[in-house]
């Protein structure tokens, strides 16, 4: 599904949260929104999710109107999106499976689908336990599972890497790859650009409610005035993956 964000403006009283933002979110692409706190990333997501109406502009999906100044995001569109909020805190007394069961029922999905997704996000060992016993990473994985339960055409992820360990990140990257290959659309916001740059097809940089740069990571690199840096050797994240993946190597000092 291709989304077109056309000139979206949002004002909260005298504060301009978004000032005429336009962007295209293509199918089969992972678009990362980057920017400081208060730059408008979450506000734009809120417009897409139907949480607020824009003051100006409109959003269309495959040419069909999603929202404009007179209406919130339509039900039709909200059937097709999966949303992962930043640091959601589900009810602590319910188990992960019970939380997912709610979202499955809400989406009209069979219970068998819950078990598939629980396995997918690596929570099979903890699904029956109350959420109060979950680590931050496990809660984030639960939220990710709830977002992908109905295989949405558009995934909207607000700071999805928060709290995820390397295994959790691996699950996230696999899901993003799967969505990309299936021709679905992903929009995510992140402060951890070093973490997401290899996974982003497009990066949109926002400051003060406006888009100041947009393009592929390579395009942004070539446009920037920064000197290129050459790194020899694997990154720490790759070394960690190799270690935790079962391969260990002796780091004893040379004699």
């Amino acid at each position: 599904m291709k989304l077109n964000v056309d000139d979206i403006a949002v004002r909260f009283g005298p504060v301009r949260a978004l000032g005429g933002v336009s962007m295209a979110l293509d199918a089969g692409q992972v678009t990362v929104m980057a920017g400081p706190n208060g730059s408008g990333k979450s506000t734009l997501m809120s417009v897409l999710l139907g949480l607020i109406r824009p003051d100006e502009g409109q959003v269309t999906a495959d040419g069909r109107l999603v929202c404009d100044r007179s209406r919130l995001s339509t039900s039709w569109f909200r059937e097709r999106i999966g949303y992962l909020p930043e640091a959601p805190a589900f009810s602590e007394t319910l188990s992960g499976r019970q939380i997912m069961r709610f979202f499955a029922s809400a989406r009209g999905l069979p219970r068998a689908r819950i078990e598939v997704v629980i396995e997918r996000v690596g929570l099979a060992h903890a699904a029956a336990r109350p959420v109060r016993g979950y680590s931050r990473g496990m809660r984030q994985r639960l939220a990710l599972g709830c977002a992908i339960l109905h295989t949405p055409e558009v995934l909207i992820l607000d700071e999805p890497t928060g709290g995820l360990d390397q295994q959790g990140l691996a699950v996230l990257w696999e899901i993003l790859d799967e969505w990309r290959k299936a021709g679905r659309t992903v929009l995510m916001s992140s402060h951890e650009l070093a973490l997401v740059e290899r996974r982003a097809d497009r990066v949109v940089v926002m400051v003060d409610g406006k888009v100041i740069a947009a393009g592929t990571p390579d395009e942004l690199r070539s446009q920037s005035g920064l000197k290129p840096e050459v790194r020899i050797g694997p990154g720490l994240d790759e070394i960690y993956e190799e270690l935790v993946g079962g391969v260990s190597w002796d780091v004893s000092p040379a004699h």
Binding site: F12, L49, R78, P85, F102, S105, A106
Partner: protein, 266 residues
């Protein structure tokens, strides 16, 4: 109601069944009701007549409290947990979310009330149980009124702590101070307030409506008259309208608040 709203009702009921505050107040209610019924048992055949008015008084205090506890974090709790946006982003309208939360929590409240009455009914003979069980319907209406108020306070608040404080204040005002204020007004106006006006003012408070309707039913008009109490209560249609208003209007107001621009994102 759509699929999402129905799923939310069941989800709410499951969640409340594990809520320690709901469990504690339900057990407290059952304990007190048991105590009243056990004490009234000593009256033999008149046990139900002795027990029922005391249960009415107990319910008038406890049921609103349980209902306000159940309702106060319905919306603001989701906002604090950053899950309100997740709910609203589902293909469901905001008023459906509000009503589903009211119904789900209302069902939990019904269970709590039934447990309390059930505990009392155990101590009575089968012939006497219908008297006590006839209190069930009005008690549920009383609970629904205060649950609706709790949901409204939740929609209006930015923090759970604020909603909880407002709930406690509401309980004090409507359950404890309202009648005192009415008495003060009657004394201060030196009887200028007519009986009909007083009757209406009592009826407009759901706790007052609950007590007077049931006392009328249990003790009888003549007994109330002998005690010098108000007997010219508004008719059943008027009372039904008051119940409806107390249940529906806060929900309508709550849905309006939830539809505000900043309701979900701020």
């Amino acid at each position: 109601m759509g699929r999402v709203a129905r799923a939310l009702i069941i989800h709410e009921l499951l969640e409340r069944a594990r809520d320690r505050w709901v469990i504690v107040t339900t057990l407290l209610f059952a304990l007190l009701a048991t105590g009243i019924a056990a004490y009234g048992r000593s009256a033999g055949d008149a046990a139900a007549v002795v027990t029922a008015p005391s249960l009415v008084t107990l319910n008038a205090f406890l049921v609103p409290l349980v209902a306000l506890i159940l309702g106060h974090d319905a919306i603001v709790g989701e906002r604090e947990r950053h899950t309100l946006g997740l709910l609203v982003s589902l293909p469901v309208s905001r008023w459906e979310i509000l009503v589903a939360k009211f119904v789900g929590r209302g069902l939990a409240l019904c269970v709590a009330i039934c447990v309390g009455f059930g505990a009392a009914a155990v101590w009575l003979s089968p012939a006497q149980r219908p008297v006590v069980l006839s209190l069930l319907g009005p008690s549920i209406l009383l609970g629904a009124s205060f649950l609706s108020l709790g949901v409204l306070l939740s929609s209006a608040s930015r923090k759970v702590a604020t909603a909880a404080s407002l709930a406690v204040v509401s309980w004090f005002l409507l359950i404890l101070f309202y009648d005192l204020a009415l008495l003060t007004a009657m004394v201060a106006t030196d009887g200028a307030l007519s009986q009909d006006t007083v009757a209406w003012l009592v009826t407009l408070n759901p706790a007052g409506l609950y007590r007077t309707s049931l006392m009328n039913q249990l003790v009888g008009v003549d007994a109330l008259k002998e005690l010098g109490l108000v007997v010219s209560m508004p008719g059943s249609r008027a009372r039904a309208m008051v119940w409806f208003a107390w249940i529906a209007l806060p929900l309508v107001a709550g849905a309006g608040l939830l539809s505000r621009r900043h309701a979900v994102t701020a």
